[in-house]
Each structure stands twice: as structure tokens, then as C-alpha cells.
Amino acid sequence: MNFFFGIKSPHLNSKVTIPRFQNSSNPSKNHLLFELQIISDKWNISNIDNKESSGDFFIVNENIIEKDNFFLLATTDEVQKLINNGDKLIDLNNFTNTIPSYRANLQVLNSRGGFSSYQSEYPFSMTTKKGNILSPISSLLNKNADINIIFFKNIFQLPIQEKFSIFFINIKTKKILKKERVITNCLNEIIVDSTLIEPDIFLFTDKYIGVPIFCSIKNNYISLEHTHPPHEYIISENKFKVVSQLKQEFNEIINQTNC
């Protein structure tokens, strides 16, 4: 199961287009679009008015998108499990577990007509894990842009909003150049100074994982794309060992600084 999310930002508007069909079949009439949000320390799930649907797609417009909400496709029977127990997210169905991968579309746009998109899925399997995200900074940002933003979306299975940190670390000097406090179950927005957009600088999180989405805007043109976690660059069976060793180096840097 995948969740979907939008971007709420003073710099951009966004809309999410979620197909009602799997990529090898006809639209499902049974799967509706639901919104999830934490209310009073519980997961609250509510049906989104189906008038928002357009043909074979659900359209989630900016008036529905918040930093702390996200969406899923499910039948009314399936969501009942979550309504009955809002203490933890559960894997409700496999409708969006397809090969090739199920694709929604998160489009950001500005008032001058600039636009860019990205696929927007957040796999359920990521919501059950804690850990670290490691990503290069300069691969998707641009030093000469008007503004560079990293949107960091975390969805964690428990309905908590807990603080954790995102570090900007120079891998060669082993120095922390910047630390941002962010929260779980939220879309966090980080403005990136151009001095941090260098080949040796990496983003690294403590405690929680998430999806880093890199946005660069210049002259109203927008580029929006996500990076992959390091283990997706390794195909051999030793991938988790190799990545674990690399992350250990970054953990040592942040632990030394915290001492």
C-alpha cells in the first residue's frame, strides 16, 4: 500500500493526481480516496468528497493539502479497520502494490505558470521503520537558482509528532554545516543556502526516515525530483552491509558533535 501527499508551501501551490486504476487494468469503482491526519493523538481517517474525481483520476487540490495530512486509496470496508483502531497505521490493501510501480503525480506550480512534478508515493513499508536517510545535496539543487528548497516528508505509523534532526554534513571534512529540527508525520520545508550546494555535502537524518524532495526555482521555472536511498544504488546481496557502514560514518560524525 502507498500513501500520497501534497506540498503546502508559501512558495508554491500543488495538486495531486491519483489514478483510480492500476497500470494494467481498468478503474476500480470500489476504491475511494481518504484523507489521514492526526487528531487528538489518533489517526483520523475521512472520506474526501468524490466530486473531486476527474474521469479515471482523483484530483487533490491545494485547498485540501496540508503539511500534516496525506491520502490513500481504500474501500469503505478496509478503512473501517483504521477507524476502529486509530493508534497505528496498518497495511489496508495491495491495490497500489503493482509491478511496474504504481504512479501518482504531485504537481507543484506557481502563479506565473511554472510547473514541475514528481510521483508522490510514500510506501507503507517505510512508515514502520526508523533509521537514517542519506542523500547528496548538489545532485538536484542549483547554486544559481532564486531559491532552493528541500521538502522532507515523513510518515510514521504512530500518530505522534516528534522532533528529529536533519544535518548537512561535509563528507570530506566530517563537519556538520547546518542542523535543522523537523517533525514526524509532516512535510518539513528547508530553505537551502547556496553555500551548502556543494559536491561533498550530504543530507543525513537521525532517528527517522522519509522522502527528501528537492525543489529549485529560477525565473519561475521549477524543478522537482526526489533522490533515492543509497541501498537502491547497490544491487548485490551485500547492499545493506555496505550502506550500513557508510551510514555509520555519518552517525559517528553527528554523535561526536552531540557529545
Partner: protein, 256 residues
């Protein structure tokens, strides 16, 4: 017993049978994951047509994962008709790197095609590593800021020492498969799909019943402007195009 079942499930003949009947087909040939010290590459699209410049960004994975500093990358460029253009080796690598692909870089060619990146080293300090650099390709028109997209599929591989190479990672089935692009193109002035044949043989595919043929290593740009729904049928089990959408003076590139 579990090991035996796993071995049978991953055997070439069993995969061929599953793909033949279309039962839970295997998209990527699992045997390439068992190779030793190999760099796998996507078929990354490049464009220098219609005012396009392509910006390619990639990480030095061997330095990042294995602390190998004496590594280099090999980039090989082909036209849309699979004509070889050039091969370059870049030896001065940072953790993150960039090259600009314009018509001067490609010997004056204003066209489109694909390229591969292979990480290379003669170091023997690496132990059974298979890497695939997903990289990021930015597209700029007439000097506009680039729109970036990451790589889309594993296509070719080469050993770190350059001794062997291969393709055939994306598998095919006996019957045609349907892949519905999960987006609509109604709101854009113009939309294009960029396909590279990821298979080692001739590829026949249909978009909404219109037939296209791509020979090995060939790529094609297809105008799909204004379409509400697009269905791709082919025997290839993983044929996902890169999408270019245009509206007024702005444009966006992403993978389907």
C-alpha cells in the same frame, strides 16, 4: 527445502516459463545481480534537438561505497538510431559530478538518443559489488533552468575492470503486456514520450493501437499531445517512457 525452492524459482527455465504464461512475471533478469564487481547503467535519454541541452549529474559511487579513489567513469553516447557517437572517460571525480551535453559536446549533432554510464576501476579492493547509478538528467530549453528526472530502468552492464559487459536485463514475455500510463495529458499544450528500447532485440509496441518498432539500442520521441489516456502494449515487461510536458513557455520532465 526453502533454498531449493528459491533456486528453482530463480532458475532461467522457470523464469522463462513464468514469463511465457504471464504468471507473476519477472521483469529484471535476476542473474545479473549475481555478477561480481559490475556497474549497471540505465539507458539515459539525452536531447540536443529543439534548443535542448542535457545536464547529467552523477555520484562517484565507488568512492562513496568502497573508498576507491582511483576510479573513473566511462560514458558512451548513441544517436536515436543506435549509431555510436563517442566514448569519454572522466578521471577527476568528486562525490557529485556534472557534465553538460550540448551539440558541441556531441560533435555538432542536434538530435536525441541515449547514453550509458559505467563506473570503472582496476582496484582489487572491492568485493562482489554490483552498483547501479540512477543519476539525474536535467533538460534545459534555450538556456532555461533545467527540469531534472532520475534514471528509469537497468539496461546494460560492464565489469569494473572492463573485461566483460552485457545487456538483456529487462526481460520479455510471450504475450503482450498492458501498461497504462497513470497520468493524463489534457491540460498541456504539448506532450512527448521518450522511449529507449531496453531489450537486446527488436521491440514492437503499440500506443493506443498505433504500432511502433524500435531496433536494438534505438530511441524515439512520440507526440501524445492532448491524450486523456495512454496504453502501451508490448512483450517487454518494463517499458516506461520519460515524459515531456509543455505549457506556455514552461515545461516539465518526469518518468512515468
Amino acid at each position: 527445502m526453502k533454498l531449493l525452492i528459491k533456486r528453482i524459482a530463480n532458475s532461467r527455465s522457470f523464469i522463462l516459463f513464468r514469463n511465457y504464461i504471464g504468471f507473476r512475471p519477472i521483469i529484471f533478469n535476476p542473474s545479473y545481480k549475481k555478477l561480481k564487481n559490475v556497474s549497471v547503467s540505465d539507458a539515459f535519454p539525452w536531447r540536443t534537438d529543439s534548443g535542448y541541452v542535457t545536464i547529467f549529474r552523477y555520484a562517484d559511487l565507488l568512492q562513496l561505497f568502497s573508498k576507491i579513489e582511483e576510479s573513473f567513469v566511462e560514458l558512451v553516447f548513441f544517436t536515436k538510431d543506435n549509431r555510436f557517437i563517442k566514448k569519454i572517460e572522466i578521471t577527476q571525480l568528486s562525490f557529485s559530478n556534472e557534465i553538460i551535453i550540448n551539440n558541441e559536446f556531441l560533435n555538432g549533432i542536434q538530435e536525441y538518443g541515449y547514453f550509458n554510464i559505467f563506473h570503472r576501476t582496476n582496484s582489487d579492493a572491492i568485493n562482489k559489488l554490483v552498483i547501479a547509478n540512477r543519476c539525474y538528467i536535467g533538460f534545459s530549453i534555450d538556456g532555461s533552468p533545467p527540469s531534472f528526472v532520475h534514471g528509469n530502468s537497468h539496461v546494460n552492464f560492464k565489469s569494473f575492470d572492463g573485461e566483460f559487459s552485457g545487456s538483456g536485463i529487462v526481460l520479455s514475455s510471450f504475450f503482450k503486456n498492458l501498461y497504462r500510463i497513470q497520468n493524463t495529458f489534457l491540460e498541456f499544450d504539448k506532450s512527448e514520450l521518450f522511449f529507449v528500447n531496453p531489450t537486446p532485440s527488436k521491440l514492437i509496441f503499440f500506443i493506443n493501437n498505433k504500432k511502433y518498432i524500435l531496433n536494438r539500442g534505438c530511441s524515439i520521441l512520440i507526440d501524445v499531445s492532448g491524450k486523456a489516456n495512454l496504453s502501451i502494449r508490448s512483450k517487454c515487461l518494463f517499458l516506461r517512457p520519460t515524459i515531456f510536458n509543455y505549457k506556455n513557455q514552461f515545461f516539465d520532465v518526469y518518468h512515468s
